[in-house]
Amino acid sequence: MTDAPVLELDDLVLDYPLKRESLFAAPRSLRAVDGVSFAIPRGRALGLVGESGCGKTSVAKTVMGLEQPTAGHIRILGRDIAAMPRGELLGFRRHFQMVFQDPYGSLDPRHTIGRIVAEPMRTSMAKARKPVGDALEAVGLSAGDAKKYPHQFSGGQRQRIAIARALVTRPELVVADEPVSALDLSVQAQVLNLLRELRETLGLTYLFISHDLAVVEYVCEDIVVMFAGRIVERGATRTVLSAPAHPYTVALREAMPRIDRAGGRRRRASRTDDKSDATADRAVGCPYRPRCARAIERCATETPKLRPLANNQEVACHVV
C-alpha cells in the first residue's frame, strides 16, 4: 500500500445534470470532467491549472466525495473511494482533507474555532482539544484561539484556521482549491510558505488548484493543465512553464501580467484575437480549436490524445 500513489484518477468523467427544457425533453447534462487521469505519488505536489469552468474544481470536489463520478475511478492510498461502503468511508475520510478558496465562507460564523477545526475528527470536543491545539499551533496560531469565533480573525488567519482543520486528522492528502487567491498580497506569501513548510515537515501530498502559474510553480513540482474538462498538457512544472507545448499553455503563460515587464505601457507584440472565451461545443475535435491560431483541419475531426514529449512532458495537440 505504501508504494501506491496517494491519489490516482483513472479516466474520471463527471456530468452535471442540466434542467430539462420541458417535461418531455430528453435529460441533458454538461460534461465538466472528460476522461482525466493522473496520479500523485506520496510526498509530491501536483498543481491543477486552467480557466474558470475548465473542470479543475469539479475534479477536486469529486476527489473529496462531494460529487459522484459519472465514470472512472478515484483511488486514494490504493482504495477506490466510490466503491467503499459508507461506514468505512467515514473513517477513511481522515486520510484526505480539503482547504477551500474563501476563508470568509469556509468557516461557519456561528461555531467556535475549536469546533470548526475539530469537525473532521468526528469525536467529542474533550477528546479533540489536544489535537485541535496542536493543529492550531502548527499553523502559527495559539491553542487559546480555539475559544474565539471566525469574525475575530483576518483573512490570512482564517485561512490558517482552514488549514488547521485540514491537518487535524493527520491526513496524507490535502486538496487545496485556490487557497491564496482571496488573500491580500502581503499575506499570500505567509500562507504559501506555510503550505510549503507543512509539506516538508508532515510529508503531505498536495492536489493544488490555482489559476496563478507563479503560485503553482512555487508550491508544486508537477503540473496538469486543463481545458474544457480535458488535460491538454502535463509534466514537471518548471519544464512546462519554461517550454510550454500546448497553444493554450503558451497563451496562459503569455497572459500572466509580469512585474519584470514594467516599463510604462507594455508594447504589445501581437494583437489578441477576440475569440476570447469560446470553446468548441461539438464532442469531436480539439476543444481549444476556436481560439487556436495554429489549428489545422485535423483538429476539427479528431480529438487529440495525450502523447509524450521529452522530459516526461505530455501534450494533447496535433500541431506541436
Partner: protein
Amino acid sequence: MALLDVQNLFIRIGRPGSTIDVVRGISFSVGSGEIVGILGESGCGKSLTAFSVLGLLPQGLNAAGEIKFDGRDLLSLDERDLCTLRGNRIGMIFQEPATALNPVQTVGDQIAEPLRLHAGMGKREARAEALRLLERIRLPNPRGALDVYPHQMSGGQRQRVVIAMALACRPSLLIADEPTTALDTTVQRQILDLLLDLVDETKSGLLLITHDIGVMAEMTERVLVMYGGVIVESGPTEKIITDPAHPYTRALLRAVPQRALGSDTWLESIPGTVPAPSERLQGCLFRTRCSLAGPECEIQPALLPRGPDRVAACWRLPQIEASAPA
C-alpha cells in the same frame, strides 16, 4: 494643467462620538492620455478614493480636501452637476461585470441609455452609436450583441460591454476599479490590451485601481502605493518596481510569487496582517510589520522627494538608500 488633480483628500467615516479617517490626506494627479495606478491591499482606501472622485461614496462617508477635474472642484458640486459629469465626462469601469449590468435590459439599450441621457441623441442615433461602440471594443458579432441580454454573454464579453458603456459619451477620464480581477488570465490580457488601445486612441486619462502588482507594472506609467489610507510611495512605475524605496513596497515586491519563478528560493513573507481602519495607530502604520521600524516611526513621516520624480514616506529612507537596492 492636469485633468484630475486631487489635493489633500481625506475620507472620513463619521460615527457619533468617533470618526475614523480611512483616507488621510492623499494628493495625486492624472493627465490626459496618462495611466496612473493606485496599488494597495484591501482596506487601504484605494477604491474609496476612486468613488470619492465620482461622488459615489457610500452613506456615512465624507470626503474633504480638493478634487479638481478640468479646473472644477468636484467636492463643491451638487448632486445634479455630478450626475452630468458621471458617465459623461468621467467613465467608470467596475470590478464585477455581472453586477454592473442590468440583467433585464438588452446590451444595446444599456449602452444607448447614457447617450440619450447625456448626449441628447434620438433612439435610432443612439442605437447606431451603440453599435459603433461595440465594434470599437472588438466584440465578436457586435450587431447581434445589441439585442442580447447580459447573462447570455461570457464574463469577458460583459466586461467589454461595461467598458463600452463607460466610453459612450467620450469621457476625458476613465476610472477602472479592479477591472480584471474577476476574469480569467487570458481574458484579462485582452481587456488590458483593449484599455491600453482606448487610452492611446482617445487620449483620455485612466486611473487604474488594482491589487495586482503584475497588472500595475505592465499597465501604468506612474503608480501610487497606498497602505492604511496614506500614500507611502509614488513615482514612475518602472523605477518603483526596479528600485522600491518604502519598506512596504520593498517587502511586497519580495513577497510576489513571481519572484521565485524558476528557482527554489523561499519568498520573504511580511509578518502580521493589514490593520483594519478601526485599529489604526498613530504614526507610520506599517511599523508593526516593518523590520526597520524604530521609535521615530510613531510619528507619521511626510512624503519626501527621492530623486526628481519620486516621493516616499519613511524615516528610514537614508538607511535604505545607503544599503544595496532591493
